[in-house]
Amino acid sequence: MFTPDEYRQIILETANNRRNWGALTPNDFDHHEHNPLCGDHLRLTLRLGEGGVIEAVGWEGAGCAISQASASLLGEKLVGMRLADALRITRGEVLAQIGLPLMPTRQKCALLALRVLVVGGAGAPAWEAGEG
């Protein structure tokens, strides 16, 4: 569980340090997803180079501090990766990046960014199988 100070820190850092924000045009990847539970929405644009390597990342959307922080952190990780490899990033890696324990409903917030990437690149993510 967060202490109020830890959480305030996340909100502040996210507000001040959102990285790779703003959609890229032109782009080689453009996908948009939303979380029907809370209405958060996120769009991911990528520019790819030789061998499908991600050269630039651009996020756009609105959401809570957790979903925005997660997008910011994931975006940084993506730059320099091959898209094919990026699609294999796991749920666990993304949650670990947040570095704080999250309740299941907040895990959905944290995973929205990965969801946009994976659904846009390969279809429904494996971790959602059986969730209906």
Binding site: M1, P4, I11, A62, A65
Partner: protein, 410 residues
């Protein structure tokens, strides 16, 4: 003004004495989602399963008779609580959602056709929108959504205009909005609707726990509510229906208990309420709801209403004082529901931060997406109050919100 001792009421709810996090006491402000349960309700469930458990309306044995008697006694308690003319007007369901679906699938399917209009409102919970949308797709009738005025009340002039066109068969409206807190005048709507030849279904989910409801005085045709929002168990709800209307309605689910005779060439159906209670009902939950009704009746609904009105006014005054906090809905007659936005902070973040201070609230669209779209909001944070909440808890809540609004100002 009638009142009760809040500290004594708090002592009746075991969950309130358990810490939320280590060293942080629980402030439960999510009563609109579900309320906590007093020891009397917990005891009723345990007593039933320990000493009287059997199926109802079936056995010749003593236990079955005890279970049947307790189940029907709960129905009588609920009938008295809402001033129904007879216990036969009280159908037990799983909750408000099932109650409304029951009306849609029986009365609605038998009576609504192309050319008809169901009049509902933009402020409804999805439970009073989606069943009508599903049935409209099948039966071809129209749905008119009554607008909400800037103060959060219904546009009654529009209601009169639409009703005067003579095509409305049913008005389906909430008695109290789970977001705006607005208490709608069901009595006024019933007068207008009946004059236009339409029936009225009111969703009482956010009303029954804080205000005395008198279905006879309201002259409402259907009234739906849930047990778990009024200090009773989950899995039990009520559909009140006027007797003549229920008697003319076909069954919905088929099975045991709802029949009169069954042959291989067909069946005849039991009279209401049994006609609408196919299968083994939620027996223990109904008995638990009866205990919740007893609990509220002992406090007195006038005292409950007085306490919650006073507390809501106190909370509204506090929130009006915090820069950056905006309460959604300004109706004078209101339920103890306070949905709000905090400038620059997402509702999930507000809720998370309040949770870390021990305060349980809800964040999201509260199953009212069309209303949020109408308000131009994706989500709100909602504090909803119950009989055990105190001014001191509101003070802690307001202080936590103040701290939160300072996050960005620093």
């Amino acid at each position: 003004m009638p009142s009760y001792e809040v500290s004594r009421v708090r002592g009746d709810f075991p969950i309130l004495s358990q810490p939320h996090h280590a060293d942080v006491p629980l402030i439960y402000f999510d009563n609109g989602a579900t309320s906590q349960k007093p020891q009397a309700v917990l005891d009723a469930l345990t007593q039933f399963y320990t000493h009287h458990n059997a199926n109802v309306h079936r056995g010749i044995h003593r236990l079955s008779e005890e279970a049947t008697e307790a189940y029907e006694a709960a129905r009588r308690k609920v009938a008295r609580f809402i001033n129904a003319a007879s216990r036969r007007e009280v159908v037990f369901t799983r909750g408000t959602t099932e109650s409304i679906n029951l009306v849609a699938n029986t009365w609605g399917r038998a009576n609504l056709r192309a050319g008809d209009v169901v009049l509902t409102t933009v402020m409804e919970h999805h439970a009073n929108l989606v069943p009508w949308q599903m049935l409209a797709a099948e039966r071809g009738f129209e749905i008119h959504y009554l607008g909400v005025l800037p103060d959060g009340t219904l546009d009654m002039a529009e209601a009169e205009r639409v009703l005067s066109e003579g095509r409305v068969r049913l008005v389906a409206l909430t008695h109290a909005s789970n977001v705006l807190g607005t208490v709608n005048s069901v009595r006024t709507m019933v007068r207008l609707a009946h004059a236009a030849g339409a029936l009225v279904l009111a969703d009482g989910a956010q009303m029954v726990a804080h205000h005395a409801v008198d279905v006879a005085a309201l002259e409402v045709d259907f009234y739906a509510f849930s047990g778990h929002k009024m200090y009773g168990p989950t899995g039990i709800g009520v559909l009140y229906g006027r007797r003549a209307i229920l008697e003319a309605m076909p069954p919905w689910m088929g099975g045991g208990d709802m029949i009169e005779t069954v042959t291989l060439s067909g069946s005849t159906y039991a009279a209401p309420p049994a006609r609408f209670e196919a299968g083994t009902p939620p027996i223990a939950q109904a008995i638990g709801l009866g205990a919740a009704v007893d609990y509220l009746s002992t406090l007195g609904m006038e005292a409950v209403h007085a306490h919650l009105s006073e507390l809501t006014a106190y909370a509204l005054a506090w929130l009006a004082d915090i820069a950056g906090v905006e309460v959604v809905g300004r109706s004078v007659k209101r339920a103890p529901v306070l949905a709000f936005t905090v400038e620059g902070v997402h509702p999930h973040d507000v809720a998370q931060l309040l949770d870390s201070a021990g305060i349980a609230v809800r964040a999201g669209h509260h199953c009212a997406m069309p209303l949020h779209a109408h308000l131009g909001l994706v989500a709100t944070t909602r504090a909803s109050l119950g009989i055990y909440n105190t001014r001191a808890e509101i003070d802690t809540f307001a202080q936590a919100l103040k701290d939160l609004t300072h996050v960005h100002a620093r």
